[in-house]
Symmetry: C2
Subunit: 227 residues, 2 copies
DNA sequence: GCTAGGCTTTGACCCTGATCAATTCACGAT
DNA sequence: ATCGTGAATTGATCAGGGTCAAAGCCTAGC
């Protein structure tokens, strides 16, 4: 049917599945499940046994950890096309190291780890894809640790803003935050109050203009110079 | 010859090479190089093109990043048996994301990434090993980010001390720091001064006793209770 | 249109840990 | 034994950003 074909096409564009032939992709599909999450619902909690990994189809997922006294650190915010929890397939103790929650109404596909491992045994190309994905994530985490320890909150926020640029926008650039500021703040390891204050300061310096969830980068070069 | 056989045996105990048969291991060996680094010498710098990965044979290597104004963050300290830079094999831009320096006189084996990839194509088992290693590292990094953002310096230091325990030592436990305190401090993202002060405070509380590079954990339960 | 509840912003204050500076310590070389 | 060098400790001070509290805003639902 058409719906299935559309899904096959969608999967085929996901980096993990790009190397698979139709037969393999069909097998992946057979062990997949669609699932819908209303906004704010938990998908899984840190520590829980893991036997599936996920692909975001629609919506947003946040991955986060909690300290024992309830403070939350957002590790990652995932958007359509992103996969998560694949790396757990290879951990000794197969448990989710973080919790996952839908930020808005979200639709996911989930895949059985065990049967996907079989696919991996057949396709080194896919193994290589997965390793590429893991090394990218690893690098990103290393970067984040550098930023946390060697740079201050303003630096991290400015880097974040510049990363949102649609690419090569020279002068005026508009950004729309599709995620609550408090979540982005936690993602950047900044308190919401501080996040707000930094935006205010950047505005006062004429570097940006903020109107609700829309931010104009008035002086991209000036922002780059802060780094 | 005996020397070669000893080396083969050593490699075979490295997680990455455990699944290889003798023929494959010999091929790995053929593309390996031994290298000796005097204390304090740089092995590679962040940003440099990468075509080899490494195994520590003797000594200690620190992986670190520098901020533009020269501040250093130690990412990892590696000991004999540890491998590093394998994950780079799968990055788009094959450049070292961190710098590597010998802390003491060190001997390494290095392996050619390109020829090791060929081995990986033949051995999914080895691919799986590598992926297990990468997911372990990934998890460690996630943990570190949590600790940096959700916990304070004392917490991180106490966790570090407890991790040094030779395992299941119930009451009295001795730790020897084989690495300068300033390096450990940076590894934990603490300033040397603060590191020293925290040790002093823990001593004052009777939880530990410090004599140079030797630390006695006088009250393991008490330390655990701090967390 | 208006109210309620959740983000966000603003203000006042504080605390952890960084910074700067001086001293002590450890140890290898002379 | 003594000197010199770099690490470690200690003291004094400071600031980035966290915390607590209150007010402002926005939107969904009545």
């Amino acid at each position: 049917m058409d719906a299935d074909q559309a899904l096959l096409d969608e999967l085929h564009r996901v980096y993990l599945f790009e190397e698979l032939d139709d037969a393999q992709l069909t097998r992946v599909l057979r062990n997949s499940q669609r699932c819908s999450l209303p906004a704010k619902s938990l998908l899984f909690e840190a520590g829980q046994p893991a036997d599936r990994f996920y692909l975001v189809h629609k919506g947003q997922i946040k991955l986060f950890t909690l300290s024992m006294d309830g403070d939350e650190k957002v590790m990652e915010i995932l958007y359509p096309g992103d996969t998560f929890a694949e790396a757990i397939m290879f951990m000794q103790a197969k448990r989710y190291p973080v919790s996952a929650q839908a930020l808005v109404d979200t639709e996911l596909y989930s895949f059985d780890m065990k049967s996907f491992r079989k696919i991996l045994e057949e396709s080194q190309q896919t193994c290589f894809r997965l390793m590429a994905g893991m090394s990218r994530r690893l690098h990103a985490r290393i970067n984040e640790i550098s930023n946390l320890t060697l740079h201050n909150a303003t630096y991290r926020l400015v880097v974040f803003l510049l990363e949102q640029l649609p690419e090569d926008a020279i002068e005026l650039a508009e950004i729309h935050l599709s995620t609550p500021k408090s979540v982005i703040a936690s993602r950047l390891s900044i308190q919401p109050e501080t996040f707000s204050r930094i935006l205010t300061r950047l505005s006062a310096n004429g570097l940006i203009a903020v109107k609700g969830n829309d931010i104009s980068l008035l002086d991209v070069q000036g922002l780059r110079d802060l780094l």
